[in-house]
Every structure is written in C-alpha cells, then in structure tokens.
C-alpha cells in the first residue's frame, strides 16, 4: 500500500529515473527470453513441418504397437495413453518400494553410525561411503546383470530355489529373470474377516485412548503398544477362524516346460534391481541425514535430559528423536524426490517405467517432442506433489518461536 505523493517531485530525466529503469529492465529481459524461445520453437516447428512430423497429440489415441515387457495383461493394440499410465504406475511402484527400503535401511544405518559398538559404527561408515560415491546407474546395472555372476553371491545359471525349512515349498524361486516369492490367495468369505478386523481396529483405538487416560490420571505406566498389539492379534485370530480360514498360501513353482514361474507372487527382475539399487543408494544419503540430525540435537538437549534424570531410552524417545526428526524430515523428503527421479534409469534393466516406455515408444515412431513433453510434465507433477507434501510437513514441523 502506498499513499500518493503529497508534493510533486521534479521528474528526473528518464534514463536516471529508478521507476523507468526498473520497468525497462524487466521489459528488456522478457523480450530477450521471448526472442530466444521464439527462435527455438519456430525452428522446431519449421523443422518438424519440413520433415513431415506431426505436431499434434493425436498419436496418444493410436495403438501402442509393442508389448510391454513382463506385463502380459497389456495389449499392444491399446492406445499410447494407456501405455503412459502403465509407465506412471510402474514409476510409482518402484518409487514407493524404493522409498520404503531406503527409509528402513537409512534409519538403521544412520543410528548405527553413532553406535558405541565399534564394529557396527565401522560397517555403517563403510556402507555410507561406499554407496553414496557410486553412480546409481552402476548400482542398477550391478543388481540387474552382475550380482549373481561372481564371488560373494550364489552364482545362478538357470534356476535357483530356496526351500522353506522342512517342506517342499519354495520360499524364493529364480528362473532366469523371473522371480517368484510366496503369495496369498483368498476366497469368498474374506469380507467377514475384514469386517471383524475393522471392529478390532476400532477397539484398539479405544483401548489406546483408555490406556492414555489412565496414564494421565494415575501416572502408572501405560504399556499402550503392548495392549494395542494384543487387541489386534486377538481380533485377527477371531476373524481368521470365524470366517473359516479365508486365506491360503500359494507357493511359487516351475511350470511344466521349466520356463515360467507359476503360483506365488511374481516379481520381475528389472523392478527388483532398480528398487534395491535405488533403495540402498538413497539409504546412504538418508543415513547421513539421520546421523547429522541426531548430532545436531545431541549436546545441550541431552544434558538437559540427563539433568532431569530421564533414562537413555526416554532421552532418545522424548527429547532427542522428536527434535532430530524435525531437522531430518525435510531433507529426507528431498531424497525421496531424488529417488523417484532416479527410477527413470529403468531403461538400463528393461524395467517398464515411464522413461523406458517413452523411449521405446519414440523408437517405434511416435513423435519425440510431444512424448518427451508429456513425460517431463508427469515427472514435474510427481515433483510438485512431493514438494507440496514437503511444504505441509515443514509448516507442521516449524517450532513455535519468536
């Protein structure tokens, strides 16, 4: 808000007037950028017209014309936009499981780096320094092509099985690039089971509240976690047997011709190698973040906690970790974003994520410009969603201070 000038000032010559300079500077910059963009895009359109390349997005509704690897359900006659959705789904899946793996390993490594056990701390340091200084693509190729071809790991030639102890069922079955792990099948009465489990969850919440209130009132230990776990286990057992055991295990096995894996849950090797490689790579970064955050809190806050006679566990649980998390969460979410972006390397191991499919699609004659723009738009959307989450988390985490 500005108020009008009460006295008219002498206008300086325009080339010395700040207001004129500011406006002129902005117009100049916009014009320069516009001219560059205009030059690039008009060249692009001219060249595409000259070579008779379509500049429309109609191709999205034409057939894909190729089979997506490891996705027998996908019909090559489905339109290109459906292929794009499959890519988005696979990118999301690799990102999701990669993030879970990276979080778990990262947390363990970060805490292990600060362990008083020399061996644990050393191994964690070696882990971090090893993984974060190697290009993720090298790791992906390692897990994709090299891991079972040499020394420290079992060498796989054709098929490899890990039996469940004391039975003939396979816990893990690897046949060339097809992986099977035990899966779960369900029958009709499963709805009753879920209903009973839902009641159990409601009961667990009530029990949690009751224990908390009891703790607030009497100061007696609440043992909330034990109580809730107990309630959930009881609900699960009741549900499982009351509905007539609706679940069954399904074990992976080789098919008759010894080429396919039947039964169980099939995971493809591209997916596994990219998830594991990126999970382990990102974990090394997350480990450093966790370690740094704990160290940042440690000093004075730990002393204050000690002065209050909190136990080591209480000190971590109530003083150090809540503050360390506050510091660690924003950079960790950034690492998650990096992980999702790195899934774009799937093409190196023929994993059908967005970039790999787009690349194949361009190779099949779909227009490159439109395909790449759509692909970038989708990644941008992923990034924006994650930044949005980051902003919300940041706002919630902000300490109230003057």
């Amino acid at each position: 808000m500005t108020t009008p000038q009460t006295t008219e000032q002498a206008r300086p010559p325009f080339w010395r007037d700040i207001r004129v300079i500011r406006v002129a500077g902005q117009i100049g910059a916009v014009v320069v950028v516009f001219l560059i963009l205009n030059w690039l895009i008009s060249n692009l359109i001219n060249n595409m017209n000259r070579l008779n390349i379509s500049t429309s997005f109609d191709y999205l509704f034409g057939p894909t014309n190729f089979q997506i690897p490891y996705d027998p359900q996908f019909n090559p006659r489905s339109p290109v936009w459906e292929m794009t959705l499959v890519g988005v789904k696979n990118t999301f899946l690799a990102g999701f499981f990669g993030i879970i793996l990276a979080s778990i390993v990262g947390l363990i490594v970060g805490i292990a780096r600060l362990s008083e056990n020399w061996l644990v701390a050393r191994l964690a340091t070696v882990y971090v320094e090893f993984f974060r200084n190697i290009p993720p693509l090298v790791l992906i190729i390692f897990f994709g092509f090299a891991v079972f071809t040499f020394g420290p790991f079992p060498i796989l030639s054709e098929s490899w099985e890990v039996k469940a102890p004391g039975s003939d069922d396979n816990l893990l079955l690897i046949n060339n690039d097809r992986w099977g792990v035990p899966g779960v099948t369900q029958d009709g009465s499963v709805a009753i089971f879920w209903a009973i489990l839902a009641v159990g969850i409601v009961a667990a919440v009530l029990v949690w509240r009751w224990r908390t209130r009891n703790f607030d009132r009497t100061g007696q230990p609440h043992h909330r976690v034990l109580w809730v776990l107990g309630v959930l286990i009881i609900a699960f057992l009741i549900g499982f047997f009351a509905s007539g055991q609706p679940f069954d295990m399904s074990w992976p096995a080789l098919s008759e011709n010894r080429r396919q894996v039947v039964g169980g849950f099939e995971v493809n090797w591209g997916f596994l190698s990219i998830t594991i490689a990126l999970g382990l790579y990102t974990a090394s970064h997350i480990g450093e973040i966790i370690r740094g955050s704990i160290l940042a809190v440690h000093g004075g806050q730990s002393e204050a906690a000690n002065a209050l006679a909190l136990s080591a566990f209480q000190r971590y649980r109530f003083v150090v970790l809540p503050q360390a998390m506050r510091i660690a969460v924003p950079p960790t979410i950034n690492q998650f974003l990096n992980l999702v972006k790195n899934t774009s390397l799937g093409t190196a191991v023929s994993f059908a994520e967005l970039t790999a499919l787009t690349k194949t699609s361009i190779g099949n004659g779909r227009p490159a410009f439109q395909s790449i723009v759509i692909m970038m738009g989708i990644y941008l959307a992923f990034s924006l969603i994650i930044s949005l989450i980051l902003n919300i988390v940041n706002r919630r985490l902000q300490l109230v201070s003057r």
Binding site: R50, W118, V120, L123, I134, V138, A146, V147
Partner: protein
C-alpha cells in the same frame, strides 16, 4: 615445577575390546552375529579380488577404459594433457597456498602448510586407483605408446615443480592465477586443437587480465583510464587471435572423445559452462524485479523437477530440431548442452543459498558508502557468497560426475559404456561381467570419494575461518 597431572589409565586391549564390542548384552549379541558375517564376506571378496576374478578383461582393455575409442596414434595428446593439467594443478595450489600464507601473516597467525604426505593421505582413494591402474598396466601386453609410469611420474613431478615455483610474493600473486587458467585452457586445447575457431577462451582470460592490470595511474581523467583499459584488452584479444590464426593446428574435437577421459571432461566442461548461467539465474531469482524473478524461478523449478535423463532425451531427440536446418550438432555437444542446462539450475540454487547467507547489512553498508550496485555485487556480495558455496559446488560437481554415467543410456561411449565394447570382444562375451563393472565402480568411487573428502575439508576450514 610440579603440575598436577590427570590420572592416566591405560586401557589394556581386553578392556578396549570389551568397551567397544561387548559393552552390554545386546551390543555383544550384535558383535557375535556381525563378526562372522563380515569375516565371511571379506573372505569371499578377497577370493574374488585376488584368486577367482577374471581380471584379464580389465587388464587387456585398460587403454580402452581410459580413452575409449579415441584414436590410438593421437594418444600423445592425452598424455600432454595430463602433464599440462598436472603443472596447472601445482601452480594453482602453490598460488592458493601463498595467498593463504599471506592472509595468515596479515592477521598475525601462524600458517600451517599441509604436507605432501597429508595431501596424498587425504586423496588415498585416488592414489589407490592410480596404483591399481599402474599395476594393471605393468602386465598389459597390448603395448602402449609411452610407459604409463612415466606419465604418472611426469604429472606428479610437474605439479610438484609448479607448487614449489609459484609460491610467489604478493604482488605477483595474480600472475600465478593467470598462469593456472592459461595452462588449463592450453591443456584442454592440446587435445581439442589450436585451430582458427578456438581463440575465444584464451582471449577472454588474457583480455580481462589486460583490462584489470594495465597501469593507468599516469592518466588524469577517469574516461582516459577507461579507454586505456579497453584498448589494452582489445590488444590482448587481437594478439591471441593472431597467434591462433598463425598456429592453426587442428586437434581431436570432443565428438571423438570417450572412456574415462570423456567422463571427466564432460563433467568439467558442463560445470564450467553451468557456473555463469547459474550465477545469472541466482541473481535474477534474488532480483527485486518481479519479471526476472518469475522467469528464473520457473526455469529453476522446472529443471529441478525433472530427471536428467529426460533432458538428455530432449537433447538427443529435439535439440537438433531447435536450431536452423542444416546445423549439425554432435551427440556429445547435445549431451553437454543438456547437462549444462540441468546443472545451471542446481548451481543457481547453491549460489542463491550463498547470497541468502549474507546479512543484508553488507549490501546496506555498500549503499551507504555510495558504491554503485555493480560494484557492491562484485566487491562485497559475490566474494563472500561464492566463497561460502565452494563446498556445495564441489558436491554438485561430484553429483554431475556421477550423473555423467547417464550418457550410457543415450549411447555415448563414456566410462561405463566401454564395458559393452569389452564384452563384445570374442574373448569376453558373457564372461567377467562383474569384474569389469566392479572396476568401473572403483573408478567412479575413487574420484567421488576423494572429492567428497576435499569438500568436507573445505567446509570445515570455512567454518573455522568465519
């Protein structure tokens, strides 16, 4: 004089083991589980490295890994490059060390020079990698042009000579910096050639040096001084231009580079090109002019929101269409363009962080003294902000160095892709897959680890000097 000394309790090794490995029951349990596991893995790794591994695949193809498909009979260019860069490194380090020494003297502090042994220790991963290369080279029977031992010894020797010779007195300090930059350009161009088109980098350097250092005290008016400076700069540019015209010795352009050489050079070229662009973007994003801010922010956030590989695809499939028909851009040029545009956005954010870390009082003090905005930027803001971001810039370079492996995906034969050439050879089809990959991983790791150590050290030193 009897000073009270603290009670010294020397721990026996048993006490130490107990304290570090078996402090309490769960620590002991973890040790009992981890120790044999680690031992077993170490044993298997040892067997792989020293007994079972088929390292011939690397050994025979060592030159291929280093220089890829670069013409073998032009190898002397790469060797000359190593030697010149070695000298440049030494001169730069000596000059920097001299400057640090002077600053410490000014401040009345004792300057502690890091010894050669310390430097080598800090860089142990690189030293080990070079030792590994030399070990392989000693058994390489393909016959290199020049003994690799001589090359390494020559590079190290020249950098030592440069370091010792260029601890110059204060008034010659800028000469050291100038020589470093000139050597870097010459080292680059000994490979890429001194032909008629490549006069620009050197004339930029020598032109600005002439502009900054020509004596003008004898002229009275500011306008005359300015004119003399501009004339000196133009003169330097003209001389450089003339020399390049006369010499006109073409070399091997980057389109023909490959292997580890290409990996290192693309990362270096991209970060050098990205720096000015990133600086401009950062200044635009911090500007008070909303239009500039908006454009810079959009660019930075869009680029940071997409993976590098999509930009490389953009470069491979589209960039060629964005220039007038008939302009021929090679694969590597387009890849470097994509890497530069990508890195610029990250550099911009790093520089912005440095600018933000500066208290606003610094600019205000400059304004209050009547300094012009460009002077405030050049003399007050940038020297401080850029110094503060050096560690982050090294980090960005590491990241770019690792990302250069993505050129693999768009079919450029950088370090990682040399493997496909190796495994296309009859002798290594389908064998030693892990060996070549482990070698490549060690190569990446050695460089990245050494640089990350260096960046941590710089960060500590900056924090102390603050």
């Amino acid at each position: 004089m009897t000073a009270a000394s603290p009670p010294i309790h020397r721990e026996t090794w048993i006490e130490q083991v107990k304290k570090n490995l078996f402090r309490n029951w769960w620590s002991g349990l973890i040790t009992v589980v981890l120790l044999p596991t680690t031992g077993y893995l170490a044993y298997r790794a040892f067997k792989f490295f020293f007994i079972n591994g088929q390292w011939e695949a690397v050994q025979v193809n060592l030159t291929l890994f280093m220089q890829g498909t670069f013409a073998r009979d032009e190898q002397w260019r790469l060797i000359a490059q190593i030697l010149i860069f070695g000298l440049a490194f030494g001169v730069g380090l000596g000059t920097a060390s001299g400057a640090a020494h002077d600053r410490a003297d000014d401040a009345g502090l004792v300057f502690k020079r890091s010894s050669l042994a310390d430097t080598l220790k800090r860089m142990w991963s690189l030293v080990a990698f070079i030792a590994l290369l030399l070990f392989f080279a000693s058994t390489d029977e393909t016959g290199n042009l020049i003994n690799p031992y001589l090359v390494v010894a020559g590079g190290l020797g020249l950098s030592f000579v440069g370091y010792q010779a260029f601890r110059l007195p204060r008034r010659l300090r800028n000469l050291g910096w100038l020589l470093t930059m000139v050597l870097l350009v010459l080292g680059f161009q000994v490979v890429s050639g001194f032909d008629a088109e490549s006069w620009v980098p050197l004339s930029l350097i020598l032109g600005s040096a002439a502009y900054a250092s020509v004596p003008t005290e004898m002229f009275d008016t500011a306008a005359t001084r300015q004119a003399v400076k501009v004339l000196a700069a133009l003169g330097a540019v003209a001389v450089v231009f003339a020399i390049y015209r006369v010499v006109d010795a073409p070399g091997i352009g980057w389109d023909e580079w490959s292997g580890l050489h290409l990996t290192l050079m693309t990362s270096a070229i991209a970060i050098v090109l990205a720096f000015p662009l990133g600086l401009l973007l950062a200044l635009a994003r911090r500007s008070t002019l909303p239009a500039l801010r908006l454009m810079a922010t959009t660019y930075i956030e869009v680029i940071r929101g997409v993976p590098l590989i999509t930009l490389l695809f953009m470069g491979q499939f589209i960039l060629g269409f964005m220039v007038p028909a008939g302009t021929d851009l090679s694969d590597i040029t387009r890849a470097i363009a994509a890497m530069t545009l990508f890195t610029a956005a990250y550099v911009a954010e790093i520089v912005r962080g440095g600018l933000q870390s500066l208290p606003s009082g610094q600019t205000e003090a400059g304004q209050a003294l009547g300094l012009a905005p460009p002077t405030i930027m050049r003399r007050i803001v940038l020297p401080q902000a850029l110094r503060a971001v050096i560690p982050a810039m090294v980090g960005q370079f590491i990241s770019l160095f690792k990302d250069s492996s993505l050129l693999f995906i768009i079919g450029i034969t950088e370090f990682l892709r040399v493997r496909t050439l190796v495994h296309a050879q009859a002798a290594f089809r389908g064998v030693a897959i892990a060996e070549t990959l482990v070698f490549v991983a060690i190569g990446y790791w050695a460089f990245a680890f050494a640089m990350s150590r260096e960046s941590q050290r710089l960060e500590r030193r900056l924090r102390v000097s603050r």
